[in-house]
């Protein structure tokens, strides 16, 4: 296999970045659509079955055509999809209002900050161990070269992920402060307290995989967690997974922990004064954050690119027959399916559990999650000490 020159490796990395961005921008709109549909199904509705302009415009024409085409409910089921286009168009075309007394620079920088902090985390996520695919020989400039499964193979990938992800708090706090209005300020303050509190049990629940796998590299961690654990390694992972998921809901400001934008108390929380594409960036950042949390959960706890979660793969692998060896190997498709499942869980929980009170949110973090995460860490250490 030829070794790439410097320019070639730069080009390959750019192509990887492009692929990841495409992945993110395919998953995020589909999550938005799925949210409408799944929330509807949870409440015994159909979800979005039409766009707002049912009788005029391109989407209205599409809707009428689909309905005229033989009244097939399958088509009718998907009729909400043009709504995605309508959403994006609305966000782009809407007037971008800047409040008169706002801090202009900070007001401008806040959505960009939360967006960048959300996307950059994907640099350390490895989708599949080793080579993802090799460019065919006819490909210009980089033909015949391998593309690895992650953008950057960082030694301390987990530190990078946690560090960059907590920069996202600044986006929300600065947005709340720069708006120079009371509701956003309250939302920003709440988010500062909430996200800093939940950062602690989140990091602690991620320490258990670190202890068990003795590594901070994302790819290595997911490989060892999936295949290199004894039977007792399951216990700290399952508990840790639940703690991590709870903290993940809180970190991404999703229900039942969406204190920063509690719309029955604060109008829309930190993004009350935002409109147009600046609001769109917050919206995107929220969903990208969800994808990031889902990617970490599936990488560390659900076995990453391997089929079975919680380290069961390593226990089952010797018994998988040779004919089914495809299931014993890592594939990016498993990783993506797990991400999608966790995104579904997000929406599922949103449709089930009502919002917590603010003091309840805090007490859940400090009184229950942190002791449980410490206990989980102790379990992991015991397993590591005696069983590995």
């Amino acid at each position: 296999m030829p070794t790439p020159t410097l320019t070639q490796s730069i080009v390959i990395t750019l192509i990887q970045c492009l692929l990841v961005v495409i992945f993110v921008f395919v998953v995020v709109p589909l999550t938005v659509f799925a949210e409408r549909k799944v929330l509807g199904h949870l409440q015994q509705r159909l979800g979005s079955t039409r766009v707002a302009s049912g009788h005029v415009g391109i989407t209205g024409w599409m809707n009428r055509g689909m309905w005229k085409w033989g009244r097939i409910p399958v088509l009718s089921y998907w009729r909400g999809i043009p709504g995605l286009v309508a959403d994006v168009l609305k966000l782009i075309l809407k007037e971008d209002i800047l409040p008169a007394k706002a801090d202009k620079f900070v007001f401008f920088i806040a959505p960009a900050l939360s967006m960048v902090a959300a996307v950059v985390v994907f640099a350390a996520v490895s989708f599949v161990p080793g080579v993802f695919f090799t460019f065919p020989a006819w490909f210009p400039f980089v033909g015949g070269l391998p593309v690895s499964g992650g953008i950057a193979d960082i030694n301390v990938g987990l530190l990078w992920i946690l560090g960059v992800a907590s920069v996202g708090v600044y986006g929300i706090v600065l947005a709340g402060w720069a708006s120079n209005s009371k509701y956003p300020l309250l939302g920003g303050l709440r988010s500062a307290a909430q996200m800093v509190s939940y950062e602690v049990p989140l990091a602690m629940s991620l320490l258990a995989p670190v202890v068990l796998s003795a590594s901070l590299n994302f790819g290595e961690m997911s490989a060892r967690m999936a295949t290199g654990l004894p039977f007792w390694g399951l216990v700290p992972q399952i508990l840790g997974f639940l703690i991590y998921l709870t903290c993940g809901f809180a970190e991404t400001n999703r229900l039942p922990f969406d204190m920063p934008e509690a719309e029955n108390e604060l109008v829309a929380g930190f993004h009350t004064e935002y409109s147009g594409m600046k609001f769109g960036f917050f919206y995107l950042a929220e969903y990208i954050n969800m994808t990031v949390v889902a990617a970490l959960a599936s990488g560390f706890f659900l076995g990453g690119p391997w089929l079975l979660p919680f380290g069961l793969q390593g226990l089952v692998n010797p018994y998988i027959p040779a004919a089914l060896s495809w299931f014993a190997e890592p594939h990016a498709i498993f990783f993506v399916v797990k991400i999608i499942f966790i995104l579904f869980t997000y929406i599922w929980v949103r449709g089930t559990i009502p919002r917590y009170r603010y003091d309840q949110v805090m007490s859940v973090a400090w009184k229950y999650l942190i002791p449980m995460a410490l206990f989980n860490l102790l379990l992991a250490a015991v397993v590591r000490c005696f069983a590995v």
């Binding site: 199904h41 949870l42 015994q44 509705r45 159909l46 049912g54 409910p73 089921y77 599922w348």
Partner: protein
């Protein structure tokens, strides 16, 4: 101890998730079949909306088997109406013992659909029908009556199946 266990192990959350998960799977796997839809909401403009038996639509005068208006002008509905949308003019008709409403005006734009008039009626002569689409383009379309341009108090008038007096 029980309380601590319930706090630490989220049974209630699991129960709630199970319920909503059941709803999701039911609707998701039957949404594309036309025969047994489990979702309770229909696609309204394309599919005719089904209303519940207790739905309160437009006020309608009923007729008996001979085609006679059942209303006897006792004015109970006019008196009980909280928004005074009903105006009745008493009159006489040949070959009819009971009084006959010469005019029965109903202004739907102020009606709050409380169904007090139907409950107060001792002769089962009015109902609120099951008409779902009550909107109109002009204000004049909301003043209904027995004669003239607003002569639409009688149709569409289903048989009073869900009369209060029957219960």
């Amino acid at each position: 101890m029980n309380k601590i266990l319930r706090t630490l192990i989220p049974f209630d959350i699991a129960k709630g998730l199970a319920i909503t998960g059941k709803h999701f799977s039911k609707v998701f796997f039957t949404a594309n079949r036309r025969k047994v839809p489990l979702h309770i909401v229909s696609e309204y403009p394309e599919v005719v909306a089904k209303v519940q038996p207790r739905y309160r639509g437009r006020l309608t005068l009923l007729k008996d088997e001979q085609g006679e208006i059942k209303c006897v002008c006792c004015l109970a509905c006019e008196k009980i109406c909280p928004t005074q949308v009903i105006t009745i003019e008493k009159g006489k008709k040949e070959g009819r013992k009971m009084p006959f409403p010469v005019r029965y005006d109903f202004e739907m734009e102020r009606c709050i659909f409380c169904e007090f008039c139907v409950e107060s009626c001792g002769f089962d002569s009015i109902i609120l029908n099951h008409q779902f689409e009550l909107a109109a383009y002009n204000r004049e379309d909301f003043s209904l009556g027995m004669e003239g341009a607003g002569q639409n108090m009688f149709e569409p008038s289903p048989v009073g199946k869900f009369s209060v007096a029957e219960d």
